[in-house]
């Protein structure tokens, strides 16, 4: 094996912790990520975990990135190999010149290592066992001891880690001091016995600013609190359950009447996804802002109600934290694979509004906006999250709110309005051409404004009708309404290349950080690309004009079938040849390396001078 010099890098590397699920490593690993943030250095952590509670392998990856690249990078510079089950795979994953950190209590045969990496052995079990007798403590403090050793190896400031521990165990002095003791136990051992620091180092910087560190699911749940959701009905499903958990904890802090202590919200764990969406539909019909959070299998179950929401025109907000499908698929892996399923959910001719946030800050904003849109448009609004945004802490701009902002409750006719002379109330009557009719809440007026809501066809006054022209008139109005939606939803954001170019790229959602980074890599390879980040469906007219302005456009997405591309082709009548799919769908988050590789290779082919045909 060739001599490989160890990787040397300050504030730009990837550390991966390989652990056993349920071993209590998560909090130590998260503390590692947070303490680097305290150095003013951005990090992007990702959980890689199985659909299991205890015993199976789990990984936690921390990308240290002073440049602020928050997408997954790919590759591992330092492996903290704490799981014998995955040892061989973990060792193989280390980049040449990388580092291996392992528990050296038991001697390992040389064949278990690699010659092109730096092996760092710390007898974690021996240190732990000589200090602690309680098995539970041994398990937990072992994690803190390796955190201490990492601190020394990466030249991290122990005071910043101590500060974090102090914040975490505030008021629990015993836990606080024992954790700090364990931290120093590991750090001191490393300083005395190992060459510290190694080639990978954390150096204080000022690149974090006022950004916050939050999971997308929590941010979306907070958006629902700020957006005025009062009813949440849900059924547990990975990776969306933490939306409801977060909504519950946010509401406990923010939504109780200060005088009576009573709840200004109602959360119901449904018996299934059908009940969850039914509760949302019933609450919204009755004038409350309601939402559910689910994932792909839940969407499949909800589709009948989604059709009712579309046809009977009842607001609903569905947060879909996407995971790899089809069927049970890979429940703990990320994908953007429900684009078509949500855009056209339910039988018959239906179309639904989709919002695609790129990160927690947008998840917060779009979640709040979803309730305005649902009530204005009187239909289902999907907030399309995914596991990568939803279940990982992401460095994100701070959440913002305007105190002057009022909720847009849409076209709701009040008792006073119904009593106005000459006022004509027809539940499905389009009075001003935007395709959106007025509705009334149940119980509004003793004699006016009541109607019978149904999923069957009816005329403009909500009277049952199967007359062809009456049905078609209603379906056409729904098309008009969807056109109205186009100008209400978040617009695409365009960023042009430094130099004029004939090529563009379209992307959305959690692909954004990897895409932004890939653009830089591609530029350095001489490829210029204008980019358009789509943030909602129906597509704004700028999507079609962006495509028209370029010879061809790459569409980057995280599914097998190029679902967004199909939707663009179908909805905008684009020649499919002009949209080149760049697809990543193995369940891991898309990386800049992948995007730059796929687009770069395609671009390189274009630059090859064609060989002249030779007559044979």
């Amino acid at each position: 094996m060739s001599v490989q010099s160890p990787i040397s890098s300050v504030n730009d590397f990837v550390v991966r912790f390989a652990n056993v699920n349920g071993s209590g490593s998560a909090s130590a690993n998260e503390m590692f990520a947070r303490s680097i943030l305290r150095h003013g250095v951005p990090v992007s952590p990702r959980n890689v975990f199985p659909s299991n509670i205890q015993g199976l392998p789990t990984w936690y990856e921390v990308r240290v990135t002073e440049d602020g690249h928050l997408g997954a990078r790919g590759g591992v510079d330092m492996m903290v190999a704490m799981n014998p089950q995955t040892w061989d795979k973990d060792i193989a994953a280390i980049e040449p010149g990388g580092y291996l950190f392992y528990d050296s209590t038991k001697p390992m045969p040389a064949s278990k290592f690699r010659a092109d990496i730096t092996v760092i052995g710390v007898p974690l079990t021996a240190i732990t066992n000589s200090t602690y007798t309680d098995p539970r403590q041994r398990q937990l403090f072992k994690n803190i001891i390796y955190l201490g050793a990492m601190c020394a190896l990466l030249d991290m400031d122990p005071k910043l880690v101590e500060q974090l521990i102090g914040e975490q165990y505030k008021g629990k002095e015993k836990l606080l001091s024992s954790n700090i003791h364990a931290l120093h136990l590991g750090r001191d051992w490393a300083l005395q016995n190992l060459k510290c620091p190694i080639g990978l180092r954390v150096k204080k910087a000022d690149k974090v600013g006022d950004r916050i560190f939050i999971e997308g699911n929590s941010a979306a749940a907070l958006g629902a609190v700020y957006g005025g959701a009062t009813v949440c009905a849900w059924y547990p499903i990975t990776p969306s359950s933490s939306v409801a958990d977060a909504f519950t904890s946010h509401c406990k802090k923010l939504r109780h009447d200060p005088v009576t202590g009573k709840a200004k919200y109602a959360i119901v764990q449904g018996e299934d996804e059908l009940a969850s969406i039914g509760i949302v539909i019933g609450a919204s019909w009755n004038g409350a802002r309601a939402f559910t959070a689910t994932s792909g299998p839940g969407i499949s179950l909800m589709t009948e109600f989604i059709g009712l929401s579309y046809f009977a025109e009842i607001p609903a907000v569905i947060m879909n934290v996407q995971r790899a499908g089809p069927s049970t698929g890979m429940p703990t892996r990320t994908q953007q694979c429900d684009v078509i399923a949500c855009a056209y959910a339910s039988h018959g001719d239906t179309k639904h509004v989709l919002l695609f946030p790129e990160d927690p800050a947008e998840a917060f904003e779009f979640a709040a906006q979803a309730f305005d849109l649902a009530e204005r448009l009187q239909t289902t609004i999907f907030l399309m999250l995914d596991l990568d945004i939803g279940m990982n802490h992401r460095l994100s701009r701070p959440l913002k709110w305007d105190d002057a902002r009022q909720y847009d409750r849409g076209k709701v006719m009040t008792a006073e309005m119904l009593d106005e002379p000459g006022r004509d109330f027809g539940r499905y009557l389009d009075v001003d051409g935007d395709g959106i009719p007025y509705r009334t809440y149940p119980g509004t007026h003793p004699t006016k404004g009541s109607f019978f809501t149904r999923g069957t066809s009816r005329n403009r006054y909500a009277i049952y009708s199967e007359e062809g022209p009456v049905y078609a008139d209603n379906m056409q109005r729904l098309v008009r309404k969807f056109e109205t939606a186009q100008d209400m939803v978040p617009r695409p954001l365009q960023a042009n290349a430094a130099k004029p170019t004939k090529y563009g790229v379209i992307y959305f959602g959690s692909t954004a950080p990897a895409m932004d980074e890939a653009i830089g890599i591609l530029e350095s390879r001489g490829h210029q690309l204008d980019r358009l980040r789509i943030r909602a469906f129906p597509f704004h007219s700028s999507v079609a004009s962006f495509i028209a302005d370029h010879d061809f456009v790459y569409v980057v997405e995280q599914n097998r079938d190029a679902q967004l591309r199909s939707l663009i082709v179908n909805e905008n009548g684009i020649d499919p040849v002009r949209l080149i799919p760049i697809l990543h769908y193995d369940g891991t988050p898309i990386t800049a390396r992948f995007i730059a590789g796929a687009i770069g290779d395609h671009q390189d082919q274009l630059k090859v001078t064609p060989l002249r045909k030779v007559k044979s």
Partner: protein, 351 residues
């Protein structure tokens, strides 16, 4: 199809209730069900109960699933909002509606296909949660709109119109409602309006999940010899445990009852139900006793009707969730949005 316009004319001499409404004010569109359908009698009983209780019609929300029974909310309380939702999903829609506005009266109308088959789960869970509602199943043991298939409440051994014998065990929704903790459980017969009207009135006044199973013969597909849901069969096998009168308010009872034959049940809102006992030993406060009574009589082929169980100390989902007294749908941004100051604190805690 409601193609016949109902005349708006009202006879000036029609009796009026406390609010000055007549029966006509509680009616809806003309029924499109078959002539003689038991469901139309239930509709009439609902109208009668709402009239007698002097309910403001627009303060009722009528919610149903899909099927013959679920069409009926269009035929009563024309000034109420109605929601003919999704097959088997009335309970979840009603639960959501109730969460949004606790001040309205919720009337859930369902059928045996809707509640015992496709929506069996939703039926069970809405009862478990104690949603404040009146849940009426118009039970005919048959799928009428699709021309006569057995439903899950059809008795084993009963014969379909086409001559098929049902070999599956029946689901007794009353027994299940009792087991699931419904705080008001009754069974009645669409042909017995004097029993049904006060049951509906008492259920409406009950706070919590009130369930009424109403045997309602299908004249088109399940009213023949060999059916256990026909008019003749139910009349012959009806075993009423009690009759009841609803006495609104706290007025002294003026109805003259023979001593020892009446049991007074005071409900949460102060209204009282006077139960005229038919079966002297029957105690409607004993859930376990009711379940056992029901099973014993079912084994003998008897259909037990009446108010089978009532919990006078019942509560509902809103009290379990400890929600504010005002309807959630009346809260605006000022009530619901924590504002920028709170958000700044949250941001700070995430650094």
């Amino acid at each position: 199809m409601t193609y016949i316009a109902k005349p708006k004319f009202q006879h000036p001499g029609l009796p009026k209730n406390d609010l000055g409404f007549t029966h006509r004010d509680y009616e809806g569109k003309v029924s499109t069900l078959c002539a003689g359908c038991g469901h139309d009698s239930i509709t009439a009983s609902i109208i009668e109960a709402c009239f007698e209780l002097s309910i403001e019609p627009h303060r009722v929300a009528k919610i149903s699933g899909i099927g013959c029974s679920s069409k009926t909310p269009d035929y009563f309380l024309g000034n109420s909002h109605g929601f003919n939702s999704v097959h088997g999903r009335m309970p979840s829609v009603l639960t959501g509606a109730n969460l949004a506005n606790r001040d309205l009266i919720y009337l859930g109308v369902s059928g045996d296909g809707d509640s015992a088959s496709i929506g069996f789960g939703q039926f069970a869970h809405s009862i478990r949660r104690g949603v404040n509602m009146t849940y009426i199943v118009e039970n005919n043991g048959v799928y009428g709109l699709t021309k006569g298939q057995f439903s899950a409440t059809a008795d084993r051994g009963s014969k379909s119109k086409k001559g098929l014998i049902n070999s599956d065990s029946p689901i007794d929704l009353v027994a299940i409602a009792l087991q699931l903790g419904a705080s008001f459980v009754a069974r009645s017969f669409s042909g017995d309006k004097t029993q049904l009207v006060p049951l509906i009135a008492a259920a409406i006044q009950h706070k919590g999940a009130a369930f009424i199973d109403v045997i309602s013969p299908c004249v088109a597909f399940n009213n023949h010899a060999g059916s256990t849901k026909s008019f003749d069969y139910v009349r012959e096998h009806n075993d009423a445990v009690n009759r009841l009168d609803v006495i609104s308010g706290r007025d002294p009872i003026t109805v003259d009852y023979a001593p020892g034959t009446v049991q007074l049940v005071e409900q949460h809102d102060g209204t009282r139900i006077a139960l005229r006992k038919i079966d002297a030993d029957y105690d409607p406060h004993d859930r376990v006793g009711a379940m056992s009574f029901l099973q014993k009589h079912a084994a003998k082929g008897q259909i037990v009707t009446g108010l089978l169980y009532v919990d006078p100390e019942s509560d509902d989902l809103h009290s379990h969730l400890d929600t504010v007294e005002v309807p959630l749908n009346t809260l605006d941004a000022g009530d619901l949005c924590p504002g920028t100051a709170a958000l700044e604190k949250i941001n700070a805690s995430l650094r």
